[in-house]
C-alpha cells in the first residue's frame, strides 16, 4: 500500500490530493492509476513531472515498500 500524493494542477485534474494504492513498484502504481483514470496517468508522465519516493526525487522504476510515500510533482512554480 503506497501513499500517493498529488500536487498543483495534477491534484485538480485527479480530483483528489492523497490516496493509498496497492502497488509493488512505480510502474505498477501508474498502471493501477491508468486503469481507472487514463487522463491522470497520461498527465503523470507529462513533461516536467518529477517523482519523489519518501521525500527524495527518484528516476526509473523504483520498488515500493509497504508505507512508501510517492509524490507526483508537476513543474514547480516557485513562491
Amino acid at each position: 500500500m503506497a501513499r500517493v500524493l498529488l500536487f498543483g494542477p495534477l491534484r485538480d485534474l485527479a480530483g483528489w490530493r492523497e490516496r493509498t494504492i496497492e502497488a509493488g513498484s512505480l510502474s505498477a502504481l501508474k498502471a493501477a492509476i491508468a486503469a481507472e483514470d487514463a487522463a491522470l496517468a497520461e498527465a503523470l508522465d507529462g513533461p516536467g513531472v518529477q517523482v519523489a519516493l519518501d521525500q527524495a526525487l527518484v528516476r526509473g522504476d523504483p520498488k515500493l515498500a509497504a508505507g512508501s510515500e510517492v509524490a507526483f510533482l508537476p513543474p514547480m512554480s516557485g513562491g
Binding site: 500524493l5 500536487f7 498543483g8 494542477p9 491534484r11 485538480d12 519523489a52 521525500q55 509524490a71 510533482l73 508537476p74 513543474p75 514547480m76 512554480s77 516557485g78 513562491g79
Partner: protein, 152 residues
C-alpha cells in the same frame, strides 16, 4: 539558519527585529519582502501549495549553498502557504554577513531560487476564474545569472 513555512499572515518588521537583535559581529543585514500585489485593483487571491517536509528540505539545500558561497553569518526564510490576500506578504528573506555585498547578493540569489525553482505550486483566483502559474521568463533569466557566474 531558519526555514519556515506558515499558513498565517506575518509581519516582516517583527522578523527583522528578531533577526537583527544582538548581532555585534555582523555588519550587514539585507532583507527582501515579497507582497501579493492587487494587480490594478483586481481582487485576485493567491493559493500557494507546498509539499511539507520536502519543500523545507529543498529550500534548506539551497540556503546551505548560499551560506557557504557568500560566507553568511546567518539567514532566515519565511514563506507563506495556503490562501494569501492582496497586500499580504508572501515571503521574507533575511541575510546577515560581515559586509554588505555578500548580504545583498545572497538575498538576491535566494529570492531568484525561491521565485523560479522552489517546490511550490501557485494558483491565482481572479475575477475570471482560477489558473496555475509558472515562473516568468524574467524569473528564469534572473536565476540563470548565478549559474553563469559559477562558470567563469
Amino acid at each position: 539558519m531558519s526555514i519556515t513555512l506558515t499558513e498565517e499572515p506575518f509581519d516582516a518588521g517583527a522578523l527583522l527585529s528578531d533577526f537583527t537583535r544582538g548581532r555585534t559581529e555582523t555588519g550587514a543585514v539585507a532583507t527582501f519582502t515579497g507582497i501579493a500585489r492587487a494587480e490594478q485593483g483586481s481582487t485576485a487571491t493567491l493559493e500557494l501549495e507546498a509539499y511539507p517536509g520536502f519543500t523545507e528540505a529543498e529550500i534548506g539545500r539551497i540556503a546551505e549553498q548560499a551560506r557557504a558561497r557568500f560566507g553568511l553569518d546567518d539567514l532566515l526564510i519565511l514563506h507563506r502557504v495556503g490562501e494569501i490576500a492582496p497586500g499580504e506578504p508572501i515571503v521574507f528573506v533575511a541575510t546577515a554577513a560581515g559586509h554588505r555585498r555578500a548580504a545583498f547578493e545572497a538575498c538576491d540569489f535566494l529570492m531568484d531560487y525561491l521565485k523560479s525553482k522552489a517546490p511550490f505550486w501557485k494558483k491565482e483566483h481572479g475575477p475570471g476564474g482560477a489558473r496555475w502559474i509558472e515562473p516568468t521568463d524574467a524569473d528564469h533569466a534572473d536565476r540563470a545569472r548565478w549559474e553563469q557566474e559559477t562558470d567563469r
